[in-house]
């Protein structure tokens, strides 16, 4: 099994030079805030992933890996992270110019670690718990490695939606054409056969032979022209008649205005600043894409660094794809724009047709000029619609202008019709000519519409076929993915609940469920059973519970999906979890993750000591290294020393004459009294701020005196408290909570600290050194370590 042997960090973050030896063991590292713990974690992150999470995402625009990852006194070229692995004593290096090239035995480990999902930071836990279901799904998708599928699913969905819209548009156009045919023939027509029958009815009335199909319309037209060849102006009469027919047919689809108003409403949210920022990023990326595509050199146009041009282009393309991942509202906008575009195109087609028909008549030139202008306005408006479709719009669409133009066209058409009819009358066409011409015009117009109809029907068949396949593909993919993810969730559920119930054995919150949301494309719902009902975990649980829940989910996923990489980093994750539950975290880690190599960092001395003690309790001391960062400067980086117990640290200060040992002693006493009160169930005054020695001393002492019946033990504890109380420093703490160590001798400091240590010793298990605890049900004070070989036990 692969283990990390050592890490060597040079010129990286807060570390100029550091050799940290793991020897293949777990490493527990304590250090105050700002002493370089996270630099070491980041060094691992950079080594495996080539990135640093803290420089990515929202709000990190001013941060860059290139500028901010190197140590302040070094340049990017100096950065080097080397990690050695066992077995095989393999050492790999990452710099800014080269990445580690793992040999075959390490490849799987490395690939799993490359995801960066082996690191858990506290900030991430809460963010995960409180995130929206879609973000949570992405988070989980990341660890189980399926986020690529999400993009695929989205592309499939959008392809299906677009084809569905094409089908709807075709169906609408077909329905519009049938309406037009019905209008021409003066009866409701629903299929082509009916249309032919109705046309034949009309041409029979003027003594023409019926048509077998609409293909014969031209022949009919020729016959008619032949019969009137003696007339010199027949062509003009025909054209005029056609123009009248066309003008009569013209009507403005009133729905356009309603749809435009609706569109403006729906576009409003997309005009907001935050959305525009997103859109700006899209523009920026599009521009970047164009520049990189144009410039064939593999150089970044922004920073001049060497780049993998192809990979960058792919990433930009993929990023643009993600940015265009829009909500249902966005899809609705796109669909609405498509519908409006289709209606406007149809309006334009009718206008262009009228424009052509009016061409032979000079008297109508003025009207044609106005038509031309309106067509240009509509063209410009369609460009704006295109932008609206891409959601790249900053202000409302000028729909009033369009309304004005359409109304003008409507008026022009009506007046043109009147004018044409007058012209027709002036020519003096015989009445039977007029009837025959009308019949032929109807046949021609319906014939043209039928041809158009056939084309759209063919397109509809193809679009429906493509739509059906796209739907099948999308639904099958979505169902397969959901089912698999649900299966995965089911598989980790056991571990999540096992870990959680280990941490919270007598908790009212249980049965954690991580579920795929069935009605959403990619969402994860997290629930917990609290007080008999299934709730969002935030409903009734504390911040500490949420932290531990996040930790349990992380560990369950890592256990199942990071099997190839047995390295886990927990970076300062237990801040809000109380002392008792921290002990139980040790249990989860040391019992369920025995085969893993853990790297745990903390600033918290108590948690650190709990971890150190737990190693003994779980018999894994030989497999752990306990180190402390004792100081840090920019020049030296973190100075790391082996772990010393709190008492060893105090003792060493006292021996060197450092009176600040008293300050350390005070913290020791505070910690001890808090733990005595908690373990012995002492009654303390409720406080929202931190407890001081003065708050805890009397309740701890009184409670012990109440509980202990054994006279020898009682005497021993009484003496310890008396000794403590008799020291000057203790007097200070109890009277005004001020530790005036400067005014006392080093001997007095020693006496104070030894008294605390003696009290602590008296209340710990003789076998394993764990602080004793009171068990009300058995009326005993005893060692709480279930693995202790000879637990100390005192009757109460």
């Amino acid at each position: 099994m692969t283990r990390i042997k050592a890490i060597s960090i040079h010129a990286f973050r807060g570390t100029p030079d550091l050799e940290l030896t793991f020897d293949g063991k777990n490493l527990i590292l304590r250090g105050e805030n700002g002493t370089g713990k996270s630099s070491i974690v980041e060094a691992f992150e950079f080594f495996f992933t080539g990135k640093l999470l803290m420089f990515e995402g929202e709000g990190t625009q001013s941060l860059s890996l290139n500028r901010h990852a190197p140590h302040k006194n070094f340049s990017q070229d100096d950065v080097s992270i080397k990690v050695s692995f066992d077995p095989g004593n393999i050492t790999l290096e990452r710099t800014f110019k080269s990445e580690p090239k793992p040999p075959a035995p390490l490849r799987r480990y490395f690939k799993a670690a490359q995801r960066g999902t082996f690191i858990l930071r506290r900030s991430q836990i809460l963010k995960f718990i409180v995130s929206i279901p879609a973000e949570r799904f992405r988070a989980i998708g990341s660890i189980i490695g399926i986020e690529q599928l999400d993009n695929v699913e989205l592309a499939m969905k959008r392809a299906y939606e677009e084809l569905e819209q094409n089908v709807i548009n075709d169906q609408k156009r077909i329905s519009d054409i049938f309406s037009k045919i019905s209008e021409h023939l003066g009866k409701n027509i629903t299929d082509i056969e009916q249309a032919l029958a109705a046309v034949n009815e009309k041409i029979r009335e003027v003594n023409f032979a019926p048509l077998k199909s609409f293909d014969e319309v031209n022949k009919l037209n020729e016959q008619f022209l032949k019969s009137f060849k003696e007339s010199t102006n027949i062509e003009q009469i025909m054209k005029l008649n056609e123009a009248i027919e066309q003008l009569e047919q013209f009507s403005v689809d009133e729905e356009i205005m309603k749809l435009l108003i609706d569109l403006n409403m729906k576009l409003k949210p997309f005009m907001e600043e935050s959305i525009r920022r997103e859109l700006f990023l899209g523009d920026f990326l599009t521009k970047g894409q164009q520049i990189v595509e144009r410039d064939e050199r593999s150089i970044c146009p922004l920073c001049g660094q060497e780049i993998d041009r192809q990979a960058l282009l792919e990433q930009i393309k993929s990023r643009l794809q993600t940015l265009s991942e829009l909500s249902t509202e966005a899809t609705e906008v796109r669909q609405l724009v498509s519908e409006i575009e289709s209606k406007l195109s149809s309006l334009e087609e009718s206008m262009e047709e009228i424009y052509k028909r009016l061409e032979p008549f000079e008297q109508l030139t003025r009207i044609r000029v106005k038509f031309e202008k309106t067509l240009k306005v509509l063209d410009k408006f369609k460009e704006k619609l295109k932008l609206a479709k891409e959601l790249r719009i900053e202000k409302e669409l000028p729909i009033d202008e369009i309304k004005q133009n359409i109304m003008t066209v409507d008026k022009l058409v009506k007046s043109s019709s009147v004018k044409c009819k007058r012209m027709f009358k002036e020519i003096g066409v015989p009445s039977d000519w007029k009837r025959k011409m009308d019949a032929i015009n109807v046949a021609t117009t319906v014939g043209t519409l039928v041809t158009e109809l056939s084309d759209i029907e063919k397109s509809l068949v193809i679009n429906e076929k493509q739509r059906d396949i796209a739907k099948k593909i999308y639904e099958t993919f979505s169902e397969t993915k959901k089912a698999k993810v649900a299966e995965i969730y089911e598989s980790i559920k056991g571990d999540v609940n096992t870990f959680y119930s280990t941490l919270h054995p007598s908790d009212p919150h249980k049965n954690i469920e991580v579920n795929v949301m069935p009605t959403r494309r990619a969402s994860t719902k997290l629930t917990i059973e609290s007080f008999g009902s299934v709730e969002d975990p935030r409903a009734y649980t504390s911040e500490g519970h949420l932290d531990s829940l996040g930790l349990c989910i992380f560990l369950a996923f890592v256990k199942t999906f990071n099997k190839e990489c047995n390295f886990i980093i927990l970076d300062d994750v237990v801040t809000t979890i109380d002392s008792q539950h921290r002990d139980l975290i040790c249990k989860v880690l040391f019992e369920h993750f025995k085969d893993y190599q853990l790297f745990i960092t903390t600033h918290d001395a108590i948690w650190y000591e709990q971890l150190c003690r737990a190693q003994q309790a779980y018999g894994i001391s030989g497999n752990c290294k306990n180190l402390e960062i004792v100081r840090w400067t920019l020049e030296t980086g973190p100075i790391i020393e082996p772990y010393k117990t709190r008492w060893q640290r105090i003792e060493s200060k006292i021996n060197s004459g450092d009176k600040l040992a008293a300050v350390e002693g005070r913290r020791y006493l505070e910690w001890l009294l808090k733990n005595i009160c908690e373990a012995m169930q002492a009654r303390t005054v409720f406080k929202t701020t931190g407890y001081t020695v003065a708050d805890l001393f009397t309740p701890a002492k009184q409670r012990l005196m109440e509980l202990i019946k054994d006279p020898v033990f009682k005497q021993q504890i009484t003496e310890r408290f008396q000794e403590l109380e008799s020291t000057t420093l203790m007097g200070n703490l109890l009277s005004h909570d001020n530790l005036e160590a400067e005014n006392v001798s080093i001997n007095e400091v020693r006496r104070f600290c030894v008294a605390i240590h003696e009290l602590h010793k008296a209340l710990t298990c003789n076998c394993c050194g764990t602080l004793l605890r009171y068990y009300k049900d058995i009326k005993r004070i005893r060692c709480p370590n279930g693995r202790c070989a000879q637990p100390t036990e005192i009757s109460c």
Binding site: I119, Q124, A159, S318, K472, K484
Partner: protein, 76 residues
């Protein structure tokens, strides 16, 4: 794990680290085969998946058009 919350997208995955993704995709392909979708279309989907281009809608349109052109009697 939750690192992805801070990323607009995760670019950390190479094609050879996608075993679970491949599993899901293969299962999906099997279902398409069972549904008797055009063979050519299924092959094209596989090619797009391997090349990483299945995330582009336009690429999907292209193969749908191809499939409906070449295999007009299937796919409904």
């Amino acid at each position: 794990m939750f690192s992805v919350l801070f990323l607009l997208e995760n670019e950390r995955f190479g094609s050879d680290s996608m075993s679970l993704q491949d599993d899901i995709f293969n299962e999906f392909i099997e279902k398409l085969k069972a549904a008797q979708l055009p063979t050519k279309l299924i092959e094209s989907l596989k090619k797009l998946w391997i090349s990483g281009k299945l995330i582009y809608k336009d690429e999907i349109f292209t193969i749908l058009k191809e499939a409906c052109k070449n295999d007009p009697d299937k796919g409904n």
